[in-house]
Subunit: 396 residues, 2 copies
């Protein structure tokens, strides 16, 4: 790299640093930005010009002044770029457009079968994304990247699914290359539960650096945010709660077999099985949710038991990771309070007081588009990260 | 900050970037450094001058040349600065001097009782450190910081112990302020198990980004390195394995009570108790280690059982965190292979194939000074981190 190339990277880094501050949505004056960054006023002015020309920031109306000419404030302009977000579940897909704040501006969803394999599923997703994009009236050069979530382990650095158990035909399929034939931008892929964690933390709990997201649906899995970062583990399989052995005890229901793993007790199908053995009409997670809403006490009891079994495993996670926030999502989290109540019962009993002192256990607030929001956030974080050196691509 | 102050920070950042590359101990030519960093040759030359003047790098003899004047190589000079490392256990303390590579250059240890409270314990540590420092002949300005490990949870940002169960009198005691009255340099404090993890990873497994260190001694605890960083959790209590409920199963010994936590089964005192109930003379971890070395089959069996119980909890950690390396240390790890064998037996059976595919379970290689090495590494990482902006302090 020449010194002048290096200079232009430094320009981009300065601008990205300003952008990183303004991304919280609070408009600021140049003086405030100078104070926050330590940059000279002249540097600030020049970088703001660069960012304004790129559309990434805009004037935000005027500050209340104590007299004289009011100083103008600068705000982040999240509408200036577009992200395509694709969230693929086992039986359901969501395709969305999002702005740079992770707000979904358009979306489409449909039932699908992930086991149909990558080509038909991705073809549908790309076609839908193209339609949404055309309908939005945005220019091709406003697209900064595509984020994809899939229901299985992913080698994040390459975007390849690795031995995904419920995704036949997807093992090591090059999702980024396939998508880049249509959308020639960076394509990032991750596990769906990781993206739920990322989206929930970025939008709902931006100040929590240690958050555990637990998805309870057809399977059970966790997305781990520790030290402010999503943790994927050595091979991308971190968060596999479903195959964890449940540590029973005098505080958990005795219905579990000695060698039961969590998914055999707490997933949608597992609870449905328990209910149908008791003579209630349940086969799927949706049936369980529907039955739960009738208020039937046997159903409430079964869900509370599942919550306690989940709590037995989550208590271990709490001692191990010391999160300040546990968010429960997935289709089964819609059964209502009994799942969380059973979970809290065991977690607070079994975890150490220090680990639970400031622990909040709550239900996910992101709805059907939670995974797509996370996919968008993944792309945005990469594009706007001042350390990653990529923001130059935004200044074309 | 003025533009000129900002420039000098950039100089320090450039120099720190070079230092970060050279820290691996491999000498490099200016041309190699230019290629690795993208800095211009003139920038490299000027930063190398700065680093040489500070003593942090030195000429490393000459490269083999294909003719003409041989290009000279530059090497990191870890001996140029000193770190004081203090490792305090429940009954044992180590005080050491280390260089910038984490090598211990002098050390002292003694038995102590952490429950005597902070002042007598820290007074001994500081007095010992002063004696070692004077004996080393180093100048006061060569000291870059003090690292302290304690056997309890620590709020890392402030260095205050928080409700440490076995450290009466230490709760929220300001260790950094107390030490700075004698050593006026940055003082960093962390949990002893975290420091064992940090030291083991930095010195033995620098390429592993996901490593779990498990200490088995009077208690049981873990230090978690995920995504290349030590994870402390929201309140600094991450890694508390001792109070995790053991998930028994058909593959673990049936001797555990239903509500047993790991520490009641696998710690030194717990195994000693099991042995003494079987008529063998054991009270402490040391007794267990001594008995294990006699080869007595009953002792070997008890240790293997403890290994399986430990494995039952570690299997959950493996599914949750997907580490590539598990290192077992602490006084009880000296009992030999049976502990690890029992652990491996259950971990490989219970964890998912993806999570164990490239998993290594091994014994700690750091000896009695492992905790002190970690304390030194903590200080060095902070001082030499190009992102932290602190390296300026090295250029005085």
């Amino acid at each position: 790299m020449t010194d002048s190339a290096r200079d232009s990277v430094l320009v981009a880094a300065d601008a990205a640093e300003l952008l990183a501050i303004l991304r919280d949505g609070i408009p600021r004056t140049r003086a405030q930005l100078a104070e926050l960054t330590g940059m000279a006023r002249s540097t600030i002015a020049s970088r703001i010009d660069t960012l304004t020309a790129a559309g990434l920031v805009a004037p935000a109306g005027d500050d209340v002044s104590s007299g004289g000419r009011p100083p103008s404030r600068i705000r982040f302009n999240p509408e200036s770029r577009v992200v395509v977000a694709i969230d693929l579940g086992a039986t359901h897909g969501v395709v969305a457009l999002a702005d740079l704040a992770g707000n979904i501006t358009a979306s489409e969803s449909r039932r699908l079968d992930i086991a149909d394999g990558p080509q038909p599923v991705l073809d549908w997703a790309m076609e839908t994304a193209s339609e949404l994009y055309v309908a939005s009236g945005r220019q091709p050069e406003e697209l900064i990247g595509v984020g994809v979530g899939v229901p299985g382990p992913v080698e994040h650095s390459t975007g390849l699914p690795v031995n995904p158990p419920i995704m036949p035909g997807w093992d090591r399929f090059d999702i980024p290359a396939y998508i880049r034939r249509v959308f020639d931008v960076p394509v990032l892929v991750d596990n769906d539960v990781n993206l739920l964690a990322l989206g929930e933390q970025a939008l709902m709990w931006p100040d929590e650096t240690d958050l555990l997201f637990i998805k309870v649906a057809t399977g059970v899995g966790a997305g781990i945010i520790s030290g402010g970062r999503l943790q994927r583990g050595a091979l991308g399989s971190a968060g596999d709660l479903g195959h964890v052995r449940v540590p029973f005890g005098s505080d958990t229901p005795s219905h579990g077999e000695q060698d039961a793993d969590l998914e055999s007790l707490v997933s949608g199908p597992a609870i449905a099985r328990a209910l149908s053995e008791a003579g209630l009409p349940a086969e799927t997670s949706d049936d369980v949710v529907a039955l739960a809403r009738t208020g039937n006490p046997a159903v409430q009891n079964a869900i509370r038991q599942a919550g306690r079994d989940l709590g037995a495993v989550v208590a271990t996670c709490v001692n191990l990771l010391n999160p300040s926030m546990i968010v429960v999502g997935g289709s089964l989290s819609r059964v209502g309070e009994q799942l969380l109540a059973g979970m809290r019962e065991v977690v607070y009993q079994r975890s150490t007081p220090l680990a639970t002192q400031h622990l909040t256990i709550t239900q996910s607030r992101s709805g059907e588009t939670g995974g797509a929001i996370g996919a968008a956030i993944m792309v945005i974080q990469r594009a706007l990260d001042p350390d990653a050196g990529t923001p130059r691509s935004l200044f074309r």
